[in-house]
Structure formats: structure tokens, C-alpha cells
Subunit: 197 residues, 2 copies
DNA sequence: ATTCATGTCGAACATGCTGTTCAGTAACTA
DNA sequence: TAGTTACTGAACAGCATGTTCGACATGAAT
């Protein structure tokens, strides 16, 4: 015992609850989903729910580790792309990955998204950008603006593009969104109007 | 009658409810504030509350018109600043204005902010930037990226800087935040590292 | 296969907030 | 001052929460 083995019944119950939550988020949104809904949908006893999770939020967060992991893997291979010298964020992979599961991601980070999910993705991207920026600083010296502010700027802009893109039914392909993001971040507004400055 | 005059009692009640809501938002956050809290704090009867507003959200939104108006006035004079050719957003005025009432704005748009408030400010900034961008396009022709995406990018980045700044106790003066935002938007990441590109 | 631990069920319960109703009372307007 | 309008306060039904408990079912271990 104590061998890390989890009782089949426990696995089953947790799976049912997670699936029910995702279903309901897609159907009626996170906020309007109640614990009552979840246990009805999962066909699980009320007391069973509270034996596993503190509340709705706790259930959601227990599924976030998986999301983070999955996202991390999908985003990892995007760094070494050609001409990526100034690219501090895996934007192409992000657009592609979220676009593939756009129903889910739209429900989770679009419109009135789920705060804790947005925060999770935000933090992951921030950590990523911060690391690459540190590297860049080592190579090229300090930029003329506070690095932390720069990271906030980049992540904020990317998250805005992403949620807008999902909310508006992905009117451009991931490649174009990535391209646009790159041009704006690297060269700025002046350059996209054809200025050499 | 029907002369636009509002009964003093009505004015009084609404003022009490609005004040109570703001108080409670600052004290315990919007989400944790209940209608019960509000009417207790305002010392107003339960039925009176529902005679004026549908629910907590309705009360909040009824106060948003004022915020929008006030914000609009404070932000209006920031456009014609020197060297503002590429500046599509009144960032300096925004940092100054929110910084002055940072307790309130932090509670409303920082950390776990209030969705509808964030959306209101976001929309106001978006409309502002969109208008200036149209003007710029008339002068200089089409940029090489979709204008709507550009607006989303700029507003998203600015909102990110603003919330970060408020959440972190305004570690830089408004002028520096504005300056940083300008440099990143206008010239991009490459330029802040001293590249001429 | 039997045993024993553990998970689940389902019902009941106290609690708290919501939104509505209504008769009585107070305050404002004209 | 008269008449309209707003507020009060209490009561009510509805619903979701989170807890508890004994009965039951299913798993793991020998």
C-alpha cells in the first residue's frame, strides 16, 4: 500500500466530475455551472463530490496541472524558428494549439473567461518570456525600458490577440496572427506603416 | 411633473447604494459582496433595493456611465502632446488618472478585477484607438497588418501594463510607464535594445 | 474466495442568499 | 394641505451550499 496506486473508484469518480465540468462549461459557462449541475451530470453523490474537492473552483484547478503540462509541450518546439531572434513568445504554436481546441479555449479564456485559467496561461507565458529575455539581456545588454514591464507588455498584447481571435471565430489563420504579432512587437507601429525611422 | 426632476428620496437611496457598493468592493471585493451586505451598509430596505435595481450587477453598471464620462474627460486632452504622431492611446493621462485613485481602480481592474469594468475601459480605449488609427490610415495608407488586430494589440498591451502597475503598487511614475509604452509600441523590441534595424 | 478497508450513495439538515410580495408608514411635490 | 410616491420590515418560497450519517457496494490483499 501507499504505493501511489489510486483506487479505481477514485479514478472513475474524478474522471466523471472533470468531464462533467468541461461539458457544462461548454454548455452554459463556468459561472452559471453549479455543484448541483456537476454531480447531476456526472451522476455522482453529493457527499462524494465533497470527499474529493472543496468546491467547484477546487475541481477546476485540479485539472489545470494537465492543461499546463499539455500546453508546455505544445509550445516548447516553437522557439528555434528561423528569424526568431527577437521572438520571446511561442505565439505561432499558441495560436495553432488553441485554434485546434477553440471551443474549449474560447469558453475558458474568451469573452467572460475563467479567471484562474487565464491567469495560468498568463503566468506560463510570462515565465517563458522572462527566461528568454534574460538570455537576450546577457547577449545584448540592458534595454532602455524595465525588463519586467517589457514582459508584461508582450504577454498582455499576445493574450489580447489570442482572446480576440478566438472570440471572433478565428478570422485569420494562425500563421498570419503570429506574423502580425511579430511585426508589431519587433518593429513597432512605425514600421508596419512602411517607415524606416 | 414629468419634468425630469427626480424625487429626493430616490436620489438619496441610489447614492447610498452606490456608496455602499464602492465601500464594500474596496473592503472585500466585488465577488464576495452580497446584496445583503449592500443594503445593510446602505441601511436601506431589501424591497427598496429591488425597486431600483435588478441585482448587484445592475447596480454596478448603473454607475459605469459616470466612470466612462469622467474617464473620457480626463483622457481627452492627452492626444496633442508633442511627438505623439504614432500615439494612438492616451496612455499618460490614463496612468495619471488611475494612479490618483489607485485604490479604487486596483479593486476594479487589478488582480481579480471586475469583468464588466475592465470591459468598459477596454471598449472605450478601443474606440479611441480605432478612430485615431483610421485617421492615420487616411494620411499614410494601409499598414501591412489588419488594423483591427493592431488596435487589439495596443489596447491589450496598455491594459496589461496598467493592471500590472496598479497591482504592483505603481513602482514607476506615470511618465515612465507612458514612455515605456510609447517606445515599445512605436519602435518595437529591437529598438529598445539599441538596434537601428 | 473470503476478508477487510475504503469509496460511494442518498437522504436529511442547517445555513445563507435571492428575489417577491404586501400592508403600513413616511416623505416629497404641487 | 392633499395626494402621490417612495420606503420599511417582515414574511415567504426557492435554490445552492457544505456537512453528517448509516447502509451499501466495490475494490485490494491474502
Amino acid at each position: 500500500m501507499a504505493k501511489g496506486k489510486v483506487d479505481r473508484r477514485v479514478q472513475r469518480t474524478r474522471q466523471l466530475l472533470h468531464d462533467a465540468l468541461i461539458d457544462l462549461i461548454l454548455e452554459k459557462g463556468y459561472d452559471r455551472t453549479t455543484v448541483q449541475d456537476i454531480i447531476d451530470r456526472a451522476n455522482v453523490g453529493r457527499s462524494t463530490f465533497y470527499a474529493h474537492y472543496l468546491d467547484k473552483q477546487d475541481l477546476l484547478e485540479s485539472g489545470l496541472a494537465r492543461l499546463r503540462e499539455e500546453l508546455g509541450q505544445n509550445l516548447a518546439g516553437d522557439d528555434g524558428a528561423e528569424g526568431a531572434e527577437w521572438m520571446l513568445l511561442p505565439s505561432l504554436a499558441l495560436f495553432r494549439h488553441t485554434g485546434q481546441q477553440h471551443h474549449l479555449f474560447r469558453a475558458m479564456i474568451g469573452g467572460t473567461g475563467i479567471d484562474v485559467v487565464v491567469k495560468t496561461i498568463d503566468e506560463a507565458l510570462t515565465a517563458h518570456a522572462q527566461a528568454l529575455l534574460d538570455q537576450l539581456i546577457a547577449e545584448r545588454g540592458q534595454p532602455c525600458v524595465p525588463p519586467r514591464v517589457m514582459v508584461t507588455y508582450l504577454v498582455g498584447a499576445l493574450m489580447a490577440l489570442l482572446t480576440w481571435w478566438l472570440d471572433n471565430d478565428m478570422p485569420y489563420p494562425p500563421e498570419q496572427m503570429d506574423q502580425t504579432f511579430r511585426e508589431l512587437t519587433v518593429s513597432g507601429v512605425a514600421a508596419v506603416f512602411g517607415e524606416t525611422q
